[in-house]
C-alpha cells in the first residue's frame, strides 16, 4: 500500500499533488469561512473559459518536441493586431469578434512561420529563445501601437488623436459575446456556454488532428525526432506546422480572453502572459514533451481555481491577501519542477 502510494506520488508529481490538495482545501474551507461558494464557482468557470484556449495553444509545440511555448506573446500579438484592426475597420457586436479572428489569422500564420523557421535553426535551445522572442516582439509592438496609423476615437489617446490606449474597452464590440451566448444560469451559478463551446470545438479539433496522419507524425517527431527522420518525416516542416498552430491558437486565445475580460490590453500587457499558461498545463500533468487535452482542461481548472479562490478564502481566514505570493510560488515552482526533472531532461 505504501509502495503504491509512493509510486502514485512519483508519477503524479509531488507539487501537482500539493496544488490539487490546496485547491481542494480551499473549496472545503470556502463555505466554512463564509465565502459565497456559488459565486466563486461561477468565477472559476468563467476564468476557465477565458484562459483555456491560451493553455491549449501549448499543446502542438509540446507534441512536436519544441518544448513549452514561452513565445506565446507572439501569437497574442497576432490576436491583438486582429482585434484592433477589426475595431478600426468599424465592425461592431459579434461581427467584430469574427472579423478579429479572421484578420489575426494571416498575422498568426506569418509570424508563426517566421518563429517556426527560427526555432528550427536553434534546436535544443528553444525555450530560452522563445522567451526572448516573445519579449522582444512585445517591446517592438509597444512602439508600433504608438506609431501605427490608428484613428478610431475610442481606441486612441483623446488628446493626441493618435497612438493606441493601453486598455481599450470592448463595450459595444465583442465584450462577453461568447460568454453570453447560450448562457445558462442555475441558481447563482452562471455558465458561459458559448465560450466553453468554442474551447470544446478547438479542443476537439486538436484531439482529432492528433489522430490524423500528420498529427501522428507530430507526436512521433516530439517523441523521437531521429526515428521520425528515419521514417521519412520532414521534421522541420512538422515542427514549423506545430509552431504555426500554437501561434494561431494563442491569437484566438487572447481574443477569447478579451471577450471575457471586456478589454483589450496593449503595450506591456502580453509580456508575461506565457507564464500562467505554461504553469497551467504543467499543473494539469503535462511534461516538457508530453501533453494531452486532458492536461489542458485539468490544468486550467486547477490554476484558475487557485487564482480565484485564494484571495477570497485567504482573506477571510487570515485577513491578508497573500494570493499573489501563493500564485507566484505555486506556478513558478511548478515550471521549475518540470524543468529540473531528470527524466524530462533527456529525450
Amino acid at each position: 500500500m505504501k509502495e503504491k502510494l509512493s509510486s502514485f506520488v512519483a508519477s503524479f508529481g509531488l507539487p501537482r499533488l500539493i496544488i490539487s490538495a490546496f485547491l481542494l482545501a480551499l473549496f472545503i474551507l470556502a463555505p466554512i469561512v463564509g465565502v459565497d461558494l456559488p459565486m466563486q464557482i461561477t468565477n472559476v468557470i468563467n476564468r476557465f473559459s477565458w484562459n483555456a484556449v491560451l493553455v491549449l495553444a501549448m499543446v502542438p509545440m509540446v507534441h512536436s518536441g519544441c518544448g513549452l511555448n514561452f513565445g506565446l506573446p507572439l501569437g497574442i500579438i497576432s490576436g491583438l493586431l486582429g482585434a484592433t484592426l477589426s475595431l478600426e475597420f468599424g465592425f461592431t457586436g459579434p461581427m467584430s469578434f469574427v472579423m478579429a479572428a479572421l484578420i489575426s489569422t494571416p498575422f498568426a500564420l506569418i509570424l508563426g512561420s517566421g518563429y517556426g523557421w527560427l526555432l528550427n535553426k536553434i534546436k535544443g535551445g528553444e525555450m530560452m529563445i522563445a522567451t526572448y522572442v516573445g519579449f522582444s516582439s512585445v517591446s517592438f509592438m509597444c512602439m508600433m501601437w504608438l506609431l501605427l496609423p490608428y484613428h478610431k476615437a475610442d481606441m486612441v489617446w483623446g488628446l493626441a488623436g493618435k497612438g493606441l490606449r493601453t486598455t481599450i474597452s470592448l463595450e459595444g464590440y465583442y465584450d462577453k459575446v461568447l460568454s453570453r451566448f447560450l448562457q445558462i444560469n442555475i441558481g447563482k451559478i452562471s455558465i458561459p456556454v458559448g465560450a466553453l463551446l468554442l474551447f470544446a470545438l478547438l479542443a476537439t479539433a486538436m484531439w482529432a488532428f492528433l489522430h490524423t496522419k500528420t498529427g501522428t507524425a507530430m507526436t512521433a517527431v516530439g517523441s523521437n525526432p531521429v526515428f521520425a527522420k528515419a521514417a521519412g518525416i520532414h521534421v522541420d516542416r512538422i515542427r514549423m506546422l506545430s509552431v504555426v498552430m500554437s501561434t494561431w491558437l494563442a491569437a484566438i486565445g487572447i481574443l477569447v480572453y478579451e471577450q471575457g475580460f471586456g478589454f483589450i490590453q496593449l503595450y506591456m500587457a502580453p509580456f508575461y502572459m506565457a507564464l500562467p499558461a505554461v504553469s497551467a498545463i504543467l499543473i494539469g500533468g503535462a511534461t516538457v514533451n508530453k501533453a494531452t487535452i486532458m492536461n489542458v482542461i485539468l490544468g486550467t481548472f486547477l490554476f484558475q481555481g487557485i487564482v480565484t479562490m485564494t484571495p477570497t478564502v485567504m482573506n477571510s481566514v487570515i485577513h491578508t491577501d497573500m494570493s499573489e505570493v501563493v500564485r507566484v510560488i505555486a506556478s513558478q515552482g511548478m515550471i521549475l519542477y518540470a524543468l529540473t526533472r531528470k527524466t524530462e531532461v533527456t529525450r
Binding site: 506591456m268 509580456f271 508575461y272 507564464l275 500562467p276 491577501d321 499573489e324 505570493v325 500564485r327 507566484v328
Partner: protein, 156 residues
C-alpha cells in the same frame, strides 16, 4: 593542507568579518539630533529660552534659532560636536560655546535642550529621546505586490 589548520584559519577569518561587522554596528550607528531652544522646567525651576542661538555643526551654520525653535542634524557614531553662538537676552554680547556630547547608542532621535545644557543640569534633564508622533491614519500606502504587472521598463 592540514585540515585543522584550515579550519582554524577559517574560524579566524569568520571572527574578523564578524568583528568588522560589530565595529560597523558601533561606528555606523546613525542618530538624528534635535537641538531645541525652548524653556525647560526642571525640578520646579524654569530655565528660560535664549533670545537667539546660532548652531554650527562641522564648521557650517546649521540654523539660527529664535525662542521655541528647533533644528536637527544627523550624525554617524556616538560623538556629537557642535558650536553654539548664544545671545541670552536681547542686546547681550554673544557667547561662544562648544558642545561635545556622547549620544546614547539605543536612541535614534535625541533631543538636546540648549538652556538646560547651558545651565549645567544633569544629562537626563536636557537630553531626551525623540519619540515621533504616531503616524496619521490618513497616510495610505498602496498594498505593494507587483508581479506580472510589473513591467520591466524604466531606467537602471
Amino acid at each position: 593542507m592540514n585540515n585543522t589548520r584550515k579550519w582554524v584559519f577559517r574560524g579566524f577569518t569568520l571572527l574578523v568579518v564578524l568583528a568588522i561587522g560589530a565595529v560597523m554596528f558601533v561606528i555606523g550607528r546613525g542618530h538624528t539630533v534635535y537641538i531645541d531652544n525652548k524653556t525647560l522646567e526642571y525640578n520646579g525651576e524654569t530655565y528660560e529660552a535664549l533670545q537667539r542661538s546660532e548652531v554650527y555643526v562641522g564648521g557650517e551654520r546649521l540654523s539660527k534659532l529664535a525662542k521655541r525653535e528647533r533644528t536637527m542634524s544627523t550624525v554617524i557614531g556616538q560623538s556629537f560636536e557642535m558650536k553654539l553662538i548664544n545671545t541670552a537676552n536681547k542686546g547681550d554680547e554673544p557667547t561662544e560655546v562648544t558642545v561635545k556630547l556622547t549620544l546614547p547608542y539605543g536612541w535614534d532621535g535625541i533631543v538636546v535642550n540648549i538652556p538646560g545644557y547651558l545651565a549645567g543640569l544633569p544629562q537626563d534633564a536636557w537630553m531626551t529621546e525623540f519619540v515621533s508622533a504616531p503616524e496619521p491614519e490618513s497616510e495610505e500606502e498602496e498594498e505593494p505586490g507587483a508581479f506580472e504587472d510589473e513591467i520591466p521598463m524604466g531606467d537602471i
